[in-house]
Symmetry: C2
Subunit: 379 residues, 2 copies
C-alpha cells in the first residue's frame, strides 16, 4: 500500500528518501546514528510532520543501537519480533541515558513540528515504563517505534478508504502542497484518497498547485503522483481560480495542519483561496486529516496561531534572488479555511459532512476517538 518509501528502520539504520534531492534525483540515505538523522531533519531531507514524528521515534532506536554496541544490529522493522541481542553486562540505566540524550537532541531539530514532540513523548514513556531490565527496555522502545510507524500507515489507509467513496470515476481533482506519501508514513492524507480511488479502479486525474513559497506541489506532489502512475498536471497557484471556475475540476482535496472544534481548518497558505473559489463555483472542497489533527481544545480558526516564516523563502528561489534586496515580505505558512466552506472532512473513522461543532463532537463520540491537541500534519 505504501506509495513512497519515505522512511523505514532496516538492519540497524534509518533509511529515508532524500527529499532535498527531489525531484531531480531519487536517492535513499541510510542513517546509522542520531547525529546524522538530526541533521537530515534539520536540512529537510525528511519533512512533513508525520514523517518527522516517525523519524524521531526511530532516532531513539538508533541511540539504543549505538549504546548496545553489539556487532550485529538490534532492530529491524522487517523483523519486529526479532530477539534483541543484549551484550553481556548491559546496564538498563546507560541505555535509558542514551535514549534520553537522543530525545533531547532530536527535540531541538525542528522546533515547530509538533508531531516530533508527540513521537518523542511516546518513546520517553515507553522507555521509562520498561523498568530495570535492558532487554525489556529495548523491546518496549522498538515496539513503540514500530507501532507508531504502523499506526500512521494504518490511519492513512483508512483515510484513503473513506475518502475514495467521495471520488467518482473519471474525477479531476485539484490539490495543494504535499499531503502525500512523502509527508507521512508513505501513503498520505489528501493523496491517500486519490491512491485509494485509483486502487478501486477509478480513473483519476490530478491538478497540483505548485505551492509557493516552498514549491512542495511542484517538487514533491508532482513527483510522487507520476511515480504512482497517476496523471498529474502542474499549475501555478494563481491559475487554480480560473481552472475551478471553468468547470474542469470535480473536487479539491487538501490536508490540514490543525482543525478547530468548529471545523475551521488551518492548512498550507493558499488553501483558503481554493475553498472560496470552490464555494463560488459549487465545486466540493474536501479536507483529509487524521483525528490527531483535530484540536477540540481550539474552539475556532481565529484561535489557531499562524506562523510567519523567513522572508527569504519568498525572495529567493533555489538560491536565486527574485526580488529587490531588503523588500518587506508577508510570508504566513498557513491560512484558515472557515468550516462553512468545507464540504466534508475525511478522517480515519469516516467522512464528516459539513463539519461544525456539533457534527465533529458527535463524530468523535461515535468513533470513540479522543481527539488530541496534536498539530500540525504537513509543515
Amino acid at each position: 500500500m505504501i506509495i513512497v518509501e519515505t522512511i523505514d528502520y532496516r538492519r540497524g539504520a534509518v533509511r529515508i528518501i532524500d527529499q532535498s534531492a527531489l525531484p531531480a534525483v531519487e536517492r535513499y540515505l541510510d542513517l546509522g546514528d542520531v547525529d546524522a538523522l538530526a541533521g537530515a531533519i534539520r536540512t529537510m531531507k525528511i519533512r512533513g510532520a508525520p514523517a518527522i514524528g516517525i523519524a524521531a521515534a526511530y532516532g531513539v532506536l538508533l541511540a539504543l543501537e549505538r549504546a548496545l554496541g553489539g556487532d550485529r544490529y538490534a532492530f529491524d522493522h522487517g523483523e519486529p519480533g526479532r530477539p534483541v541481542p543484549i551484550p553481556e553486562g548491559t546496564d538498563a540505566r546507560s541505555l535509558e541515558r542514551a535514549a534520553l540524550e537522543a530525545i533531547d537532541l532530536l527535540g531541538r531539530t525542528r522546533p515547530t513540528a509538533v508531531n516530533l514532540f508527540w513521537a518523542l513523548d511516546r518513546m520517553r514513556r515507553a522507555i521509562s515504563g520498561a523498568g530495570e531490565d535492558a532487554a525489556a527496555l529495548c523491546e518496549a522502545a522498538s515496539a513503540e517505534a514500530f507501532a507508531l510507524h504502523d499506526g500512521e500507515l494504518e490511519l492513512e489507509r483508512r483515510i484513503g478508504e473513506h475518502g475514495a467513496a467521495l471520488i467518482k470515476d473519471g474525477a479531476r481533482i485539484l490539490t495543494h502542497c504535499n499531503a502525500g506519501g512523502l509527508a507521512t508514513a508513505g501513503y498520505g492524507t489528501a493523496l491517500a484518497v486519490i491512491y485509494a480511488a485509483r486502487g478501486q479502479g477509478k480513473d483519476v486525474q490530478v491538478f497540483a498547485d505548485e505551492t509557493r513559497p516552498l514549491l512542495q506541489g511542484a517538487r514533491l506532489t508532482a513527483w510522487e503522483l507520476r511515480r504512482a502512475g497517476i496523471p498529474v498536471t502542474l499549475l501555478c497557484d494563481g491559475a487554480a481560480a480560473s481552472l475551478i471556475a471553468s468547470g474542469r475540476i470535480d473536487a479539491v482535496i487538501t490536508g490540514a495542519d490543525r482543525v478547530a472544534a468548529n471545523g475551521d481548518s488551518a492548512n498550507k497558505i493558499g488553501t483558503l483561496g481554493l475553498a472560496v473559489s470552490c464555494a463560488r463555483s459549487g465545486v466540493p472542497f474536501y479536507i483529509a486529516a487524521p483525528w490527531s489533527s483535530i484540536d477540540m481544545a481550539t474552539p475556532d480558526g481565529s484561535m489557531i496561531p499562524i506562523e510567519e516564516r523567513d522572508p527569504l523563502e519568498v525572495t529567493r528561489i533555489q538560491g536565486v534572488d527574485i526580488a529587490p534586496q531588503g523588500v518587506s515580505v508577508y510570508n504566513p505558512a498557513f491560512d484558515v479555511t472557515p468550516a462553512e466552506l468545507i464540504t466534508a472532512l475525511v478522517t480515519e473513522t469516516g467522512v464528516i459532512r459539513r463539519p461544525d461543532e456539533g457534527s465533529l463532537a458527535e463524530a468523535a463520540r461515535r468513533a470513540g476517538c479522543s481527539p488530541s491537541r496534536k498539530p500540525p500534519r504537513n509543515p
Copy 2:
C-alpha cells in the same frame, strides 16, 4: 510625473531601462539601431504592451536615422520641433523603404503583443501619408512617434487622477503583476492610481503579489514602488486570499489586458482569485485600463482567447528546474474576471462603477471615445 524612465528617444538612440536585469541592477541601454532594439524586445529587456508599442514606433525612427546617414542625430524627444537635417540628395523613397523594412522586422519580435502592431500601423500610415518629400516624411514619422509616446503618458496620468479619488488616506492596496511605469510609458495604469493618490498627499501602503510564473510583482512592481518611495510588501500569490479575508486590505487594483463589452476583464493569471476573494469579503475590486483595452467588439469574457504559454515558465525559475522533467503543465497567461465582481473600472475618461454592457456603452458615448479592439496592455 514619470516614475520610471522605461523608454525614451534621445539624441538619435532609444534609451531603455534593462528590465531583464531588474531588480538586481538598474541599467540603461542606448540602442542605436533597429536590430539592437528588436533584440531587446525579443529578450524582454523591454516588456509590457504599451512600452513595446512605444519601442516599436521609436524603432522606425532609428531606421530613418540610419538611412539619413548624417553625422548628427535627426530626432530627439527632448527637442520635438528640431529641424531634421536632411543630407543632400536624400530620396524619400529610400527612407520609406528603410522604414518599412524596420516595421517588418519589428513586427516579428513579439507575435502576441497587439500594441506592437497598433503602433507600427500608426507609423506606417504617418509615413505613407507624407508624400514624396524626405523632410516631410521625417517630420511626420517623428511627430507620430512622439505623439504616440506623449499620448500614452497623458492617458496614464488621467487614469491615475480619476482612480485616486477611490483611494482614501491610509489605504492598504493589493495589486497583481506589474501594471506600473515599467509596463507603460513610465507611470502605469493600476500603479498610476497609487502614484496619483500619493501625489495628493495620501498615505498608501501596497501589497504586491509576486505573480507566478514570471514574477513581475516580485521583480518589477516591488522595485518600482520602492523606488517611488511607496511602502510595499511582497507576498506569494496564495497568501492574498487570507490577507483579503483578514480585513487588512482596503482595495485591490489591477490592470487589464482586454475588457469585453459587458465588462468581463482579462488580466494576468491570478486576478480572478483576487476578485472572488474581494467579493466574499466586501473589499472593492478595481480595474484600471485605458479605453484602448476596452474591446466593444467582444461581447463577453467567454469570447476572449486565453493564451497558454511555455511549460518552462512554470517548471524552471531563473534557470533552475523545480519540477519533475516532462511533467504536464497548465500555464494560461490570463484569466477572465466576470464584470459582476468588478466594483469599478478606471479609465482615462473617468470611473465606471459596476461596469456592464449598458454602463460601458453609455460611458463611451459620454466620453466621445471610440473604443478600439486593441488588446492587451501588460503581457
